[in-house]
Every structure is written in C-alpha cells, then in structure tokens.
C-alpha cells in the first residue's frame, strides 16, 4: 500500500557533527561510576516507586531501594554500593522535579546476592512477568513503560508476534546499534526465552538498513533459533514508532486508541530485551544501560552508564562539550527533551545525551503557507496544518475531530515545516487541554450521578418516612 516506504509519511532528518556516522564505530565502554548517583523514583510511566531505604542506610549494588508503587510501576535498584545520603529531589529532563534517592558511592561495587532463574527455558508467563517486574525493567527506547505490564495481555488477548525494535530511527543515537553488534547473542537469547515463556511462535527483529553490520550480527545470532526473523527496514523516521513498526513488519494496523496487543503484537526495544536476558540468566536487575553521548562533545561515544549518573559526570568523562554547543537534549533530537540542569540524572529511558549547536535553536515562526508538507510527513496520516490552525484558535473540538489525540508527537511535521511553525508543540498543548477537558467532563458526570443518587436516596427515605 505504501510501497517500499513501509509506513505512511515520515521524514529523513539530517544529522550534524557527532552524529551516527561519527559514533557507530565506537564500541560500548563502561563509564566509571560517579561519586554520587541520583536515582529518581519516577523514571517510568505509572505510579512513582516507594522508597524502602532510609537516610544513612548502607546499600549494595542491585539492592531494591524502592518498590513498585502499583501495577503500572517498577521497582528501583541501587546502581552503586554505598550510603544513602538522603531521599531528596532530582530534576528530570522535562524539567519536572521528582523525588529521588541520592547514594554516595563507596566505589566497592559490592553486588547483592543474585538469584539467576533456575529453569529459564520452562518459565510460565506469570513467572516470567515476575522476573521482569522484579528486575525493574521498563521500555528502554525512551517511553519507559513497565515491560511486565506490556507482557500481560488483557483477558482474551494473545501475544502472537513479538517485535524487537532495533530501528533506532532517531538521528545521533547509536546505543542500540552498538548493543546489537556486541550483544547479539544475548539479545536473541532473551527473545527466545520470552518466546518460550509466553508460547510465542513468531518474532521479528526490525532494523533500519543503514546498520548492515547489526543486521548481519543479529541474523547470525538468530539463525539457530526457530521463529525469529531479522527484517531490514528502509531508513525513515519514525520507523521505530510502535504503530509504524508493527505496520511495516506485519501490515497490521493498531486501531486508534488501541494497544499493539489488539493486533496480537508486543514491541520491545533491543535494549529492553538485553536487560530481560540479564534478569533471567543472571538475576541482574536493571541498574545500568547503554547510552549514546553524541553531538557537539569532544569525544562522542557509547557508554554503559549507571542509572542515576548525573549528566555533568557523563560530559566530563567525554572530555566536555565543544564551544559551539548551545543545547543539551536527553534522547534523540526529534523527540528528546532539552534540559539545562547538568545534575539531571541518566534514567532507565535515557537512550542518549546529545549536544546541539546554534542551528538547533528555534527560528522565528512564520505564517503557514499551506504547502502540505506536514500532511505528507505525518506517520499517522493526520492533518497537522488544519489541526494547528484550530488549536491556535482554541477550537479544541475541531482539533479533536481531526484526530489530534492520535498524534504520536514524533516531530516529523515540525521538522519539515518551511514556515518553521512549532506544530508538535501546538499538538502537545492541544492534547493536554483535551485530556484535561475529558477528565473534567468525566468527573462532572460522576458528580452528577452521585448527586442524583443521593437525591433519590433522600427522596426514598422521605417517602418511606411518610409511608
């Protein structure tokens, strides 16, 4: 239907200094642990974790320091051994201040006793979910949705296909690329274990074809395993978007407002799968991740970083920033968040820290010239030009009718806009307002219902009295 393009819309973002070309040859190196880690309690989607340690406690590496705050949540483990300094605050890349556990590193790296799974190939779904949940694994592509929840199908839903996301379509980022090159066997092993546990017969690994070495490595690793197929994908952002990837690989369309499981699919990032393998085989919780440090830094590279390492420490380890750097971004340049606090920690979802130059500063917005480029770039086939006009006129109803709630905020429209309009930002705002309105409407309805209920009760009581 969309030819070789594989999904509708999309763009080819360009890269600057320190992009994929400069970084994809840099092998993963272990980043020395910082003197102090700042581990936020809500670095995943869902309820914040509840701390289970107190100021002054001595903790070991991998020890649970906060437990999951609900079903959609994840526990958090210490990424260094040392002393809990305090339960304080951290600023996240999006600017939000959240509670965090600060640990002073004793540089001994003493691990807690690890409990590798005794029968990794015969896990039941429930056991696998438990292992994954207890290891604190969340989606490592950036969204940080608890993986165990993702692997818990609603009643009546079956996981038919596991899709491994190795697209890494964001410019600059090379962490997944290096991981697939260096840990191909472990990733495929993790995938096989998950397939066995959930009885999935079919798995597809999607990799953009600008990473031929990674495709070759993954193919080699997957060869002995039945049911795993490595599929090369054309380079096109946002190939790694969940719905786009599912469509590109299976031609299934996730219905609006639905989940991948509605079409029998679960999508996992390759980094997540590596973490799952580590959790099942070695019992290791998620305490470090591979992060790309790219853009205008002196020595770009891919590093294995402890969760909670402040960005300042990362940049120092890479020889500092270049003078031209004007902006720091957590994640890729298309969807990542710009931040300005160097104490911002690396979280489970931090796929990269990118330094960008003056050409990334927002140019002045011009009036829309209705060229229609945004419509052709939109991977959700929305009508950004019209939605933007409505949102700027505060006509949220019309924007909602045009499907603004289905916007995945990939930034493709903003990227191509010749008038340099902040379309994605406009949709973010629109979505926020519409969500707030829906919530308010639901609350009002609930209140009215309660009111009616109360009145009815009162009336009945009165009638009874009279009667």
């Amino acid at each position: 239907m969309f030819g070789k393009q594989m999904f509708p819309g999309g763009v080819h973002p360009h890269e600057g200094v320190g992009g994929k070309a400069a970084n994809q040859g840099n092998a993963i190196r272990e980043m020395p642990a910082p003197r102090r880690v700042i581990i936020p309690l809500s670095m995943h989607i869902g309820a914040p974790a509840r701390p289970v340690v107190q100021k002054g406690d001595h903790v070991l590496m991998g020890q649970v320091i906060a437990e999951a705050g609900g079903f959609v949540s994840a526990p958090i483990h210490a990424s260094v051994s040392g002393t809990v300094l305090e339960i304080g605050e951290a600023q996240m890349p999006n600017g939000a201040i959240v509670r965090a556990i600060l640990i002073d590193n004793d540089f001994r790296d003493e691990w807690v006793e690890l409990h590798p799974c005794g029968h990794p190939e015969t896990l039941t779904p429930a056991e696998a979910q438990q292992v994954i949940r207890e290891a604190g694994i969340v989606g490592m592509g950036g969204a940080a949705f608890p993986t165990a929840v993702k692997l818990t199908p609603a009643p009546g839903k079956v996981i038919e296909k596991l899709i491994l996301n190795g697209a890494e379509c964001e410019p600059y980022l090379t962490a997944d690329h290096r991981l697939m090159l260096e840990k191909a066997v472990e990733i495929v092993d993790g995938l096989r274990l998950v397939m066995l546990a959930f009885g999935v017969k079919d798995a597809i690994i999607g990799i953009e074809d600008n990473k031929p070495d990674a495709i070759a490595a993954m193919r080699a690793a997957a060869k002995p395993v039945d049911g795993i197929r490595v599929q090369a994908l054309p380079v096109r952002y946002p190939q790694g978007g969940e719905k786009q990837l599912i469509y590109a690989l299976t031609r299934r369309v996730v219905p609006n407002g639905g989940l991948p499981l509605d079409v029998g699919c679960v999508v996992c990032n390759v980094g997540t799968m590596y973490a799952i393998d580590q959790a099942i085989r070695e019992g290791r919780p998620l305490v470090q991740r591979v992060t790309t440090i790219g853009g205008l830094v002196q020595n770009p590279g891919n590093y294995l970083v402890r969760i909670g390492t402040p960005v300042r420490h990362l940049l120092d380890a890479c020889g500092g920033l270049r003078a031209e750097a004007k902006m720091l971004v957590s994640g890729g340049p298309m969807m990542g968040q710009a931040f300005n606090n160097l104490e911002t920690p690396v979280t489970k979802g931090t796929s990269g820290i990118i330094a960008l130059g003056a050409d990334s500063l927002d140019p002045d917005e011009g009036p829309c010239i209705r060229c229609g480029r945004c419509m052709r770039a939109c991977p959700m086939k929305l009508l950004p030009v019209h939605m933007d006009h409505f949102i700027r006129e505060f006509n949220y109803n019309e924007a909602e009718r045009l499907g603004v709630m289905n916007c995945i905020e990939c930034g493709a429209c903003t990227y191509v806009c010749p008038a340099k309009r902040l379309l994605t930002q406009s949709f973010r705002m629109g979505k926020k307002v519409i969500t707030a309105r829906r919530k308010a409407a639901a609350e009002l309805a609930k209140k009215e219902k309660e009111e009616a209920e109360r009145e009815r009760a009162a009336r009945e009581a009165a009638e009874k009295k009279e009667g």
């Binding site: 009036p367 019209h386 006009h389 409505f390 700027r392 006129e393 006509n395």
Partner: protein, 191 residues
C-alpha cells in the same frame, strides 16, 4: 434537450443568481458562516424555489393572464411564496420531523429571500413553459446553493486564518464574494 442544458449551465454558472446578478445576497451573507447551516439553507431554498416556480407559473398562466391582472404579479407571487413557505413548514413538521428540525429554522427566512421571487418573475419574463420554469427554478436554486457552499467553505477557512480584525464578519464576506464573482465571470458567454 439543448434548452435544458442551457438552463442548467446558465442558471448554475453563467447567470448564477448570487454571483452574477446580485439576488439573494442577504441569506448569502447571513447564512454562510458555517458549512452545515449553509447546506441546510441551500436544501430548503432548493425545495421552496422548485415548488414556487411550478406554482407561480400556474398562477400566472391560469389566473393573472386570463383575467388581465398582470399588474398584480408582485402581490400574487409574494403571497404564493409566503403561503407556500408556511405550508412547507407545516408539512415538514407533520411528515418528517427530523427534516423539519434540520431545515425548519431556515424556512421563515426564505420568504424574504429575493431569489425566490426573482426566479418566479424571470421565469415569466423569459417565456418558459411549465417544465422549463420548474427546471429553471431548480437549477437557479442549485446555483444559489453552490455559491452559498463555496462561500461557507472559504469563510470557515478564514475563521482560522489571521485575517485582520476589521475584515472579520461582513466586510470580509463581501470582498470574498467579490473575488468569487471574478472567478464566475469566466463563464460569461458559455451559452
């Protein structure tokens, strides 16, 4: 057959009552803010004009002309139209309430829509027979509806553009209509 084609093209494009002859400007400007209302108005007008063309022709041919009462044409026609609109309103209410709800609000406005009267008078002036009159009425109404919908589309679009304050409302609509009329002038001489 060619007469009918000429009437069709003529009334919709070449001699469009709104765009080429300045009839029905009040509803044209008044009811063109939203596409949906414009559509409702257009449908209601189409219905009324078609029926009115039919009846006024009968009135002219069987009442006014035989009794030499041509000078009462204006009074007679406007009365016919007013009564017709009332009847249509009542009939719609009885027969199809949903249609009444959709079109009902526009019906009283149609009495003072000069397209209706103008079409009725012009049918007589042009010497059309009954069938031609009715068809001409229908086509004129389609032309009116077309112009109304086109303007509504443009106005809806302008609603979300950065049109200066002093252009909003009637002045803007008038200039839009003027530019539309430029486009319609291209059809001159088509028949």
């Amino acid at each position: 057959m060619s007469t009918f084609l000429a009437i069709l093209v003529g009334q919709i494009l070449v001699n469009n009552y709104v765009m080429c002859q300045f009839f029905g400007i009040c509803p044209f400007l008044g009811v063109s803010k939203k596409f949906d209302t414009a559509l409702g108005m257009g449908l209601a007008v189409t219905f009324v004009i078609t029926v009115a063309s039919f009846i006024t022709w009968l009135v002219q041919s069987f009442v006014l002309t035989p009794f030499h009462l041509e000078y009462l044409q204006t009074i007679a026609f406007i009365l016919v139209i007013a009564v017709l609109v009332q009847l249509v309103e009542m009939a719609l209410k009885k027969l199809s309430y949903s249609l009444y709800q959709a079109l009902g609000v526009y019906l009283p406005l149609i009495t003072t829509n000069c397209v209706v009267l103008a079409v009725a008078i012009n049918n007589i002036t042009d010497g059309y027979n009954l069938l031609e009159s009715t068809f001409s009425g229908f086509c004129s109404a389609l032309g009116f509806t077309l112009a109304l919908l086109l303007l509504a589309g443009i106005r809806e679009r302008m609603e979300v553009s950065n049109m200066p304050k002093w252009m909003q409302g009637f002045p803007g609509a008038l200039i839009m209509a003027g530019l539309m009329a430029v486009a319609f002038m291209g059809f001159g001489g088509l028949i």
